[in-house]
């Protein structure tokens, strides 16, 4: 592993460790470590406050946040490589807004009263439906630009439908609040069950994206050169869309719509890791995990009443501006 890779993984682990120690409730780091140890041995003590806080509440949430950060940033790296566009963000495929629309329809119809898993499942179904639509477009031989434009159209359509539902719900204030809270993303009350639902698809999606590294690299000079180098460009496009949809769909289903991580992180990682997609996808995943964990820690430490999707955008917008300016000065954005 290169020094940069070690640094990225260390940053992710450090951010996760710090996140475990922060939050409401007075648990010192010694107590937290002891509670972790008891949890790992399966010897958590019922009634022990530190055990309940660290093992039951904080650890699953912190790990889920890290996974979601990894999913968003890793899929961002793959999306930019696929579309050969530094402005591409996983949301341009329309997957996250497709997921959001399905979830909001469920909330609108009151389906969420049937159980806590209804909304995530609906969101996953929405992401899957968007993926099928994109597959259909890709199978008809459309090029990357057409696909990108189609994704933007899908995102705009889903966003408009979601807004319409919100407007229709204007007289039902409780519903409007629930919808907005879900749309802006939340890590509250996420449990081991959420983590168990997120881990397999996120790890699968990241492995799939990393396995496309060589072919995404070859796309650097365009479809024709990549094809002449033996890359099946149509197949690559389908696989990359699938990986991105799995990652973004899972993240959105479990934590709502969280922007900017997938756009910003790959740019920063590219400075250190270079343009190769193996280092870029995995490095972005590690840095994305560190970033989202840190944002969550910050929010909890300051008891910010802001949802994480808003915080990432608040921080992400100026950060992206800075990156663009520095990138322009360095001669590579």
């Amino acid at each position: 592993m290169s020094r940069g890779a070690i640094a990225a993984v260390a940053a992710a682990l450090a951010a996760i460790a710090i996140a475990l120690l922060v939050g409401p409730g007075d648990v010192g780091w010694r107590d937290a470590i002891a509670a972790l140890g008891r949890g790992l041995r399966g010897a958590s003590e019922p009634g022990n406050v530190a055990d309940a806080l660290v093992w039951t509440l904080r650890l699953p949430r912190v790990l889920l946040v890290a996974l979601v950060g990894a999913a968003l940033a890793g899929s961002g790296a793959a999306t930019q490589g696929l579309f050969r566009n530094p402005l591409a963000d996983p949301s341009v495929l329309g997957v996250s807004l497709g997921a959001a629309l399905a979830a909001v329809i469920g909330l609108f119809l009151g389906l969420d009263r049937a159980g806590v898993w209804v909304t995530p499942l609906l969101a996953a179904a929405g992401a899957g439906a968007t993926l099928l639509l994109l597959w259909g477009l890709a199978a008809r031989g459309h090029d990357a630009t057409t696909l990108l434009l189609a994704g933007i159209a899908i995102a705009a359509g889903c966003g408009a439908a979601t807004s319409s539902l919100l407007a229709l719900a204007g007289e039902r204030l409780d519903l409007g609040v629930r919808v907005i809270r879900w749309l802006m993303g939340s890590f509250e009350g996420r449990s081991w069950a959420h983590l168990a639902a997120a881990a397999p698809p996120v790890l699968l999606g990241l492995a799939l994206a990393a396995a496309l590294a060589r072919d995404l690299d070859a796309l650097a000079l365009g479809d024709e050169v990549a094809a002449s180098l033996g890359v099946d460009v149509a197949r690559l496009r389908r696989r990359a869309i699938t990986a991105v949809a799995i990652l973004v769909g899972t993240a959105t289903a479990l934590c709502g719509v969280i922007g900017f991580v997938g756009l910003v992180v790959p740019h920063v990682v590219r400075w250190r890791a270079g343009p190769g997609h193996r280092a870029l996808v995995l490095g972005s995943a590690a840095v994305g995990a560190a970033l989202l964990s840190s944002i969550d820690t910050l929010g909890r430490a300051l008891s910010l009443p802001l949802p994480p999707g808003v915080v990432t955008s608040l921080l992400g917008a100026p950060a992206f501006l800075w990156i663009v300016m520095v990138g322009a000065r360095r001669g590579r954005a």
Partner: protein, 265 residues
């Protein structure tokens, strides 16, 4: 012995559609190691479409393309890519890559899925840059390179595949006469070492000087005229193919100084 690259009764249409008009028909050509075929013809005559068909980026509308006796369509893409390399007219990296990063993309058909570039891969990249006289450009960013330097990098990218058949689409377009000659001399050295070159060329004087075979595309849908430069590059054929009148006159001839110029920075 089967030819290294053979085109058998090849037909190319103007598009992928089955009823698209023919660009050319009945092209039969057989090239051996050390052969250089120049494809000439006016703009829109189908030079690029022919090259893309030879490389396998589009299926022949009629006839076959064969590589070492195997139909191109039957070869796995990565196997084909190790034998046949292509330099399109326009190809730009979307990121501001370093020259060496661009060249190493040529190793793609030799890499595993995770794109691990080991020591042998690295040696092949350096060797390709040396053959294209691009070694001095290694660490330079794409945006800082001149047109001639970029074309040398693209040439090195093509050579890094270690392919023996090189298909180039007007690689000297937009270059000054010195930079153009440098690209062509690099190709000539490769041909001397046993490569096979198929090149679309717009400069008839250079085509006649470097190529051993001229493929002249005439009217749309016609059978191209194939032969040695002395047979094809004569006033009446050139006049017919390009729709011009040809007059023989004294002319300026350009050559690289000997010994060959050192790569310009």
């Amino acid at each position: 012995m089967s030819a290294r690259l053979s085109l058998q009764d090849l037909g190319v249409r103007a598009g992928e559609a089955a009823d698209a008009p023919w660009l050319l028909r009945g092209l039969t050509l057989s090239l051996q190691p050390g052969d250089w075929a120049a494809v000439i013809g006016r703009s829109g005559a189908g030079k690029s479409s022919l090259l893309r068909t030879i490389v396998g980026l589009r299926a022949p509308a009629h006839g076959t393309v064969a590589l070492d006796g195997h139909a191109l369509a039957s070869l796995p893409p990565r196997t084909r890519a190790r034998t046949l390399a292509y330099l399109p007219q326009h190809a730009e990296p979307w990121l501001d890559l370093r020259a060496e990063e661009v060249v190493s993309l040529g190793r793609t058909p030799h890499l595993g899925a995770l794109a691990h570039v080991g020591a042998t891969q690295h040696a092949a990249v350096l060797d390709a840059m040396a053959r294209a006289q691009a070694t001095a450009l290694r660490g330079r960013r794409w945006s800082s390179l001149s047109g001639g330097e970029r074309q040398r990098i693209m040439l090195a990218r093509m050579l890094a595949t270690e392919a023996r058949v090189l298909v180039l689409d007007e690689p000297t377009t937009g270059l000054d006469v010195g930079a153009a000659l440098q690209v062509l001399h690099t190709c000539a050295a490769l041909v001397e070492a046993g490569a096979t070159v198929v090149m679309a060329m717009h400069d008839l004087e250079l085509a006649g000087r470097f190529a051993r075979t001229i493929v002249c595309l005439g009217e749309r849908g016609a059978v191209p005229r194939v032969g040695a430069p002395a047979e094809v590059l004569v006033p009446e054929h050139v006049a017919a193919a390009f729709g011009v009148e040809v007059e023989l006159a004294p002319r300026m001839v350009f050559a690289l100084p000997r010994p060959p110029a050192t790569p310009r920075r």
